[in-house]
């Protein structure tokens, strides 16, 4: 079935999700075009991580989500990964008992052997610092290197959309920049990126568009080229009622 050129890569309508009885997301509408970098900002507890988990299938959700023309209802993380949606979870959690190379090969689990090796080699070329340590155990990598490994894992299957959950958390400024350079390269190569970040300035510098999430709802949506964005974000977070004032 031909996909019309106009349909965005990812469309979420009325997305609700939570943990048990606690509902966190209260009806999120979000869209993302192919090749865009979109930043998802917001204070703690707003639901950013919950949103990513719902999209990748780690959490049950209700509402409607379409990715690359497919309906994601009932999709497991395995399904979404196969569809081209990669989720790099928070906390640079890699498998410390395994070698760096094996960490990457696992990300390609399910692909035929030849393709696996080829994709892993591709990714190693993008990240020389971990290629140098590919046969060492992941436990020997520093925090920043583990984060890069985690991002590399997300890239092994050449996803159309890569979702990154706070890749800069716990990293020194130098390493943060290193990670964000990767994001820039991805955008140049045509991969869409949904980036959850605490460092607002850096995120805004990189992204094409931004969504601000607070108390489980989208309170602001704007292109990063618009003026007064930092101020509008502040209002959106700290306001006692819903939406931010319009630009201008």
């Amino acid at each position: 079935m031909p996909i019309s050129a106009a349909e965005p890569l990812l469309v979420a309508v009325g997305l609700c999700a939570g943990y048990g009885k606690i509902s966190v997301l209260r009806g999120i509408d979000l869209k993302l075009e192919a090749g865009e970098v979109v930043a998802l900002l917001g204070p703690n507890g707003a639901g950013k991580t919950t949103l990513l988990r719902a999209l990748s299938g780690l959490l049950p959700w209700s509402g409607s989500v379409r990715f690359a023309g497919r309906d994601l209802a009932g999709a497991t993380p395995r399904d979404t990964v196969k569809a081209g949606l990669a989720h790099v979870i928070e906390g640079h959690r890699v498998f410390t008992q395994l070698a760096v190379l094996d960490n990457l090969v696992l990300a390609a689990y399910g692909l035929p052997r030849g393709e696996r090796t080829a994709r892993v080699e591709e990714v190693l070329e993008l990240f020389p610092e971990i290629a140098a340590k590919q046969h060492e155990r992941a436990s020997s990598l520093s925090g920043g290197q583990q984060q890069i490994l985690a991002v590399a894992q997300g890239l092994v299957r050449r996803p159309r959309l890569l979702m990154l959950d706070e890749p800069s958390a716990g990293l020194s400024p130098v390493l943060v920049d290193r990670v964000l350079v990767v994001v820039q390269r991805l955008r140049d190569a045509g991969t869409a990126v949904l980036l959850v970040e605490q460092l607002i300035e850096k995120a805004l510098a990189l992204a094409d568009r931004v969504y601000a999430l607070a108390r489980g709802s989208i309170v602001l949506e704007a292109r990063t080229s618009e003026p007064d964005l930092p101020l509008r974000l502040e209002h959106a977070y700290l306001a006692t009622t819903g939406r931010a004032p319009p630009s201008g």
Partner: protein, 601 residues
């Protein structure tokens, strides 16, 4: 105008309460009548079965407190049956010791059973669930092997004759009434415990251990009490069993029997007396209906257990819980009544401030708190905010005694708080709530709140067992105080409802009601607004302000700026374990660094 209505509520609840009590007692009374009248319609063989059911129930009633209420997976309890059976038999036989009268032998067996019950049960305090289960299985196997090997005392494989009770209990029906009487007494005693602060505390240990600690419940003391009781009645059941069998050998005490007891409780449902009672009767009687069933009985019990675990974890008790099948109103609002707080909390305590001075704590290389100063004054609401990982919850955990600071001092009224003593905080009137509500889902909302007042009860375990006046006074006091607390937070209409039917926001307010039972000098709240609607947050804020006005010092750890800025007298902002700023809400709101830290940057 509001006050009289509130005063009316408790007494009306009491009337309803006693109506409830009568309907709860009805099944027991029916069984009592049935049991007393049994010889009139049951034949000799069925009399034996009924006697056996009574004997089993004597054991199961005690084990019920351990398994059903305390939630300990004690599978090998047949060991105590064996112990009791052999003790009474050997003591009455007179081969090893001079022959003792059977009643005395039974009492001695009970004492020995109590001691071994404690020995078998205490590892539960240190071991994880599965490990403890395995040790009880091992113990049961060993007791049987010892019985087999210790020929000089137990007669080894040949066995020994069971005790014979003197008339009127020497005839089959006489003995039936003896066992029935003991079974009825055990039912009454365990039902008393179930409806006491001890029974509720046991379910708290089972389902919400963290909340139990915060309410001052001492797990070791309570578990010791139930293990001793359970061991004692199991040994008594052993003596009765030996008499019923007339002759006992080690292979009468198989693991199958242990499994039967255990499964009877689970089929009956945890936290219930009636359920396991019906379960025991069911499992004793079932194989009698068809000869082939006898051989397959353990298989059927196991299959039944599997079905229950997968389909109806609440067991028979859940099936019979008609009260909780009635639908609840769909749009329920929580409307607190802050004016009742003065009555609930009493006059403000003469406590000074709760102070943290230069407190520092690190976990494996990460500095969670680094030189923190904090002062919570009575009568004020103090807000503690900061990004994730700033040390907010860690600070709360230090104050409530889960962690000891590595440097610095935590003091109340100038005196340092003892380290690592989270179950003593309740006694110091420091109460808390949790990030995720810790509630006993299977108990009613009222029972959950009554758990908060456990340490205010005066009756001992034995007094509760025998339903002595002090126990009944405790219950009335706890009931009324809990209803008042629920009315104050706005949940009184949900008091009899099973807690796991409530919405998240209602559970949060339930936790607050439970904390208020301590009449706390200090109330610590861990992200109380998470998951609440704007309307509910506003009501929560009003409630917290009223609690502070009644004299309590309130500490709120939160993300939501609205709640913090609206209700706090003072705010401390943490970032990376250090104080970033401290002052009034207005000062903080306009503080540039705070805004940046809060938004990230």
């Amino acid at each position: 105008m509001e006050m009289p209505a509130a005063q009316l509520q408790p007494s009306r609840a009491n009337v309803l309460g006693s109506a409830c009590a009568w309907s709860a007692a009805l099944p027991f009374l029916a069984l009592l009548a049935l049991g007393i009248a049994f010889p009139l319609f049951g034949g000799g063989y069925w009399g034996l079965i009924a006697t056996r059911a009574c004997v089993y129930w004597v054991l199961v009633s005690g084990l019920n407190l351990v398994v059903g209420f305390a939630g300990q997976i004690a599978i090998g309890w047949v060991a105590l049956l064996t112990l009791g059976a052999y003790t009474t038999s050997v003591l009455t036989a007179g081969n090893v010791t001079p022959a003792l009268p059977p009643y005395l032998a039974l009492v001695i067996a009970a004492v020995i059973g109590g001691v071994f019950g404690l020995i078998l049960g205490l590892p539960a305090l240190r071991l994880r669930t599965f490990y403890f289960a395995i040790t009880t299985v091992g113990f049961a196997t060993i007791v049987t092997q010892v019985a087999l090997a210790w020929q000089s005392v137990t007669g080894g494989g040949v066995g020994v004759a069971g005790p014979i009770f003197p008339p009127p209990f020497s005839s089959p029906w006489g003995f039936y009434y003896f066992c029935f009487g003991l079974a009825a007494i055990c039912t009454w005693m365990t039902a008393n415990v179930a409806a006491s602060r001890f029974g509720r505390a046991l379910t708290a240990i089972r389902d919400a251990e963290v909340a139990a600690e915060a309410s001052g419940i001492s797990k070791p003391a309570l578990l010791a009490a139930v293990f001793v009781f359970s061991g004692a009645v199991a040994a008594v059941a052993g003596g009765l069993f030996a008499s019923l069998q007339s002759y006992i050998t080690p292979d009468a005490f198989t693991l199958d029997l242990s499994v039967l007891f255990f499964i009877a409780i689970l089929i009956g449902g945890r936290g219930s007396i009636l359920g396991p009672l019906l379960g025991t009767i069911l499992l004793t009687v079932l194989p009698e209906f068809a000869a082939p069933l006898v051989a397959w009985s353990t298989f059927l019990y196991a299959a039944l257990l599997l079905v229950i675990v997968l389909a109806i974890p609440g067991g028979i008790a859940e099936i019979l819980d008609f009260k909780n099948r009635r639908p609840l109103e769909s749009h329920r609002a929580i409307i607190p009544r802050p004016e009742l707080l003065a009555r609930l909390l009493g006059s403000p305590p003469d406590a000074g401030a709760l102070t943290l001075e230069q407190v520092a704590l690190s976990f494996g290389g990460v500095q969670a708190i680094d030189g923190l100063d904090l002062e919570i004054r009575p009568g004020q609401v103090h807000g503690l905010i900061g990004p994730n990982g700033s040390g907010k919850t860690t600070t709360l955990n230090v104050i409530s005694g889960y962690y000891a600071p590595q440097r610095g001092k935590v003091s109340l009224n100038g005196a340092a708080l003892p380290l690592f003593s989270r179950h003593r905080r309740a006694h110091m009137r420091i109460a808390r709530t949790f990030q995720t509500p810790r509630i006993v889902g299977a108990a009613s909302v009222l029972e959950n709140v009554m758990i908060g007042g456990t340490i205010d009860g005066a009756a001992t375990f034995v007094e509760s067992l025998l339903s002595l006046p002090r126990h009944r006074r405790d219950e009335a006091m706890l009931h009324d105080t809990a209803m008042l607390a629920l009315t104050a937070v706005g949940l009184e209409r949900l008091a009899p409802v099973r807690a796991d039917r409530l919405q998240h926001s209602e559970l949060r307010f339930t936790e607050i009601a439970r904390a208020l039972m301590l009449r706390p000098a200090f109330l610590l709240l861990d992200e109380p607004a998470a998951g609440l609607s704007a309307e509910e947050i506003a009501r929560l804020g009003a409630l917290l302000v009223a609690i502070a006005r009644a004299g309590t010092g309130v500490l709120v750890v939160e993300h939501h700026p609205d709640l913090i800025f609206d209700i706090c007298h003072r705010v401390t902002v943490l970032n990376l374990g250090r104080t970033l700023a401290a002052g009034t809400p207005d000062e903080i709101r306009s503080h540039r660094e705070v805004v940046n830290a809060y938004l990230g940057g």
